[in-house]
């Protein structure tokens, strides 16, 4: 006689289903990326995924954990995709592999594997690589370049010399550098008129990638894979601070629209800051976490040393998550008047 515990009915959900749906939600963004920026991103995703699975398998083997069960959970693949999307699309393959392996081995498995990592592994990969290989990590192709897929692959695999002409600055970087160098003499409107870099409301091409992430994020919200708290707080904080400064001086500070659809803002708001393992879990905690990410991302972008601040913002908030959670415990059923 068996003594399996209730409940005997279970909802048809699993970790791998959750992770698969996150990947599906990334598809619109990836499609826009491949179409408007460069199909090489697909190759990078494959490279990162393989590296992640291999690293994960190796670490599981060393620890004597069941391989099939954990490889199929999909968490390593999600990490890999986020890394590929966060890295420059023409980054050499070994850079993507280095970042991915570091994320899986150090940031995830050394902390105990699935569910145990205190930091977002993809953002650790980005942070480690941008500190260790700053030059390679800042080589983003200008959208107007129009390399063929074969040429893009040759660049990634190292068969074609990386020439400076290949890379331009990202829209965020270009804006920041120009404003800093211009020291007040250059205004935002003038910069945005450069159609090589900028499109309708943000970086040329990139703006639509961000729209793709937004759509995927809304779909996740609708599927209840994530709650509204983190994205709303993230976007709200980013809009609030960028809007305030833009109203104060529109010539020197770009509009909220520009900031929302540039860099990793949308990816961060819906896919990175919403990572449940390393983020906050209480409703109020999620609001603080999201707002903190949005705020810090803007400050690092505009006043800090890096063109985009989402990675560092998320990692810094990861540090605070346990304390935020502890301080924001919601009152329970029947104890609301006591708080």
């Amino acid at each position: 006689m068996m003594f399996a515990p209730a409940p005997y009915l279970l909802k048809d959900v699993s970790v791998s289903q959750v992770m698969t749906q996150v990947c599906i939600a990334l598809v619109p963004g990836i499609a826009a990326y491949a179409w408007l920026v460069g199909p090489a991103i697909l190759a990078q995703i494959v490279i990162a995924s393989l590296a992640a699975l291999l690293a994960e398998a190796l670490m599981l083997r060393i620890q004597g954990k069941p391989l099939a069960m954990f490889l199929s959970d999909g968490s390593a693949v999600v990490t890999a995709w986020l890394i590929a999307l966060a890295f420059p699309p023409l980054a050499p393959w070994w850079l993507v592999v280095t970042g991915t392996v570091f994320a899986i081995v150090v940031a995830k498995q050394l902390y105990g594997g699935l569910g145990q990592n205190p930091f977002n592994p993809a953002m650790i990969a980005f942070a480690v690589c941008i500190v260790a290989f700053p030059a390679l990590m800042s080589q983003w192709p200008s959208v107007g370049l129009q390399l063929s897929l074969v040429d893009q692959m040759n660049v990634i695999l190292g068969f074609m010399p990386r020439v400076d002409a290949l890379s331009g600055a990202t829209p965020l970087d270009a804006m920041k550098t120009a404003l800093k160098l211009g020291e007040g003499s250059v205004d935002v409107a003038h910069l945005l008129a450069n159609q090589d870099i900028y499109g309708n409301f943000a970086g040329r091409g990139w703006e639509w990638v961000a729209v793709g992430y937004l759509l995927g994020g809304l779909w996740m919200l609708q599927r209840k894979l994530i709650t509204w708290h983190v994205p709303t707080a993230f976007i709200g904080a980013l809009v609030a601070i960028s809007g305030a400064l833009w109203l104060y001086n529109p010539a020197q500070f770009a509009s909220p629209l520009f900031h929302l659809f540039s860099g990793a803002a949308m990816l961060g708001a819906f896919f990175i800051a919403t990572d449940p393992v390393s983020g906050c879990t209480t409703p109020r905690g999620k609001l603080i976490f999201g707002a903190g990410c949005g705020l810090l991302a803007y400050i690092i972008r505009v006043f800090g040393g890096y063109p985009d601040g989402v990675a560092f913002a998320v990692l810094l908030l990861n540090l605070c998550a346990p304390v935020i959670d502890l301080l924001t415990q919601p009152p329970i059923f029947g104890m609301k008047d006591k708080a």
């Binding site: 909802k11 959900v13 699935l114 209480t282 329970i332 104890m335």
Partner: protein
Amino acid sequence: MLMNLFKFKGGVKPPTNKTQSVTLPIAQAPLPSRLVVPLHQSIGGVPQPVVQAGDKVLKGQLIGEADGWISAAVHAPTSGTVLEVAMHVQPHPSGLDAMCVVIEPDGKDEWIERQPFDYANAAPEAVREYLQQSGVVGLGGAVFPTHGKLTPSKTVPMEELVINGAECEPFITCDDLLMRERAEEVVRGIGIFRDLLQPKKVLIGIEDNKPEAAAAMRAAVDALGESFSVVPVPTLYPAGGAKQLIRVLTGKEVPASKRSTDLGVQCFNVATAYTAWRAIAHGEPVVSRLVTLSGNVHAPRNYEVLIGTPMGELLQLAQPHPDTDGIVMGGPMMGFLVPDANVPVVKATNCLIAHSDRIFPPKAPEMPCIRCGSCAQACPHELQPFEMYWFSRAKNFGKTQEYHIFDCIECGCCSFVCPSRIPLVQYFRFAKSEIWAREREKKAADTAKERFEFKQLREEREKAEKAEKLAKAAAAQAAKKAAEAAAAAAAENTDPAAATPPVAETAPSTDATPAVAVDAAQEAKKAAIAAAMARAKAQREAAQPKNTEVLSSAAQHDVADIEARRAAAHLTDPEPGTPPAPASEKAE
């Protein structure tokens, strides 16, 4: 009637699986070959058996007497012979045995003499006692003795009486069918509760997936001219939990630390109201109940079943499929697999589900928690199950209590939604039982310590008392002896200069001893010794020649010489009992 409903947070919507068992009316289950009636069928004291093997019993005859106020009587479910009063395995996940009365039916199903209880002219106290004697307990599953909940709070006015017809667990339809077919008796039973509690409002909550039951109840309420409100509540598990239903109907939240009476609400199951009415109006104690047979069976249906019917035998009525591999008692969310197919139906048995891997697929392996928060969103008590899980797992039970583990009602919503398939409720049960065990241990240790300290105290007191007694006795003895000695000395002593001083010295001290230090054994001993010494001295002096002081020095010298010789002779005299045997033994 329009009513403002409240919501409770969380909850889940498992497939209800209720339609299978409502197509046919309630049927009477046939008499089983044997009835095993557990004596402990309600929360509280274990009823004492009042029958023994060989006794003939009638249906409804008392077989177990309520033990204390929180306890309810148990009755013979049919007429027959008591085979034994013995331990039998219980429908409980533990699989432990408990005392049962085993009855072999005689097939006549002959009732005791039944008389209605004139409750209109009875004091509330008498009604409550009558219900206790009739074995009326909460039939929703918690089996709390009903009379215990029928006492209104003295300080808080009773606002709402909530009647629970929600029946939110999947598969279970016994309350549904009861309300459809016996609504009038249910409503009359509610009337009794209303009379005893005097609430301002009576609210009957029924999940909106049972429109027939709601309609039947509404019709019965109207027909009887009652002012009860029949309120459809949204179908959302666990809307049938007492606290959730109270929340939905009244907006009041009852925390774990409080009773609903403290908030002016009381809640009863519809089946409880029904049995209360049967007891009052027909003199029928609770000897049967409605049980849903469902799950992996050909013919799901509701049956009126005698308490004590073996579950395996009962389930045959529904024709279980061959791949049935167990019986779940209760619903799939909070029920449990019974340890043995022979366990009896008890008052808490609302549903039997034939278990098979087909309807309840085996759980996929447990994955690590990814803190997705689904459990927290599903928890109707707004707890943070993943935090409690984490600390339960780490055996950090203090932390689980900080996260309010004792507010968990074990509804299973968190386990239901967990994508990692972690059996969260199991972890919480584990943590709770560990905390209870530790508290019991601590209590036991505290009691032992108290007992030890008391024993020490008592021994010390006894010692002191004994010493005091001894001292008194010794002092009395010493005083007596000293007095004797003094008298003797006084009588023999002819030379006051020689004899009086010692006697004079000792006598006052011995005399004073009892008065000054009555309680000191030491003093008494000293006094006794002093008295003895005084006696010896007096004797010695009495035995000494009395003319030596006035002798000449030569005579004194002679006397001294004689004394010396005497002493030497005495010393050198070989002792009579010291032969040189040891030496010779050594030599050999």
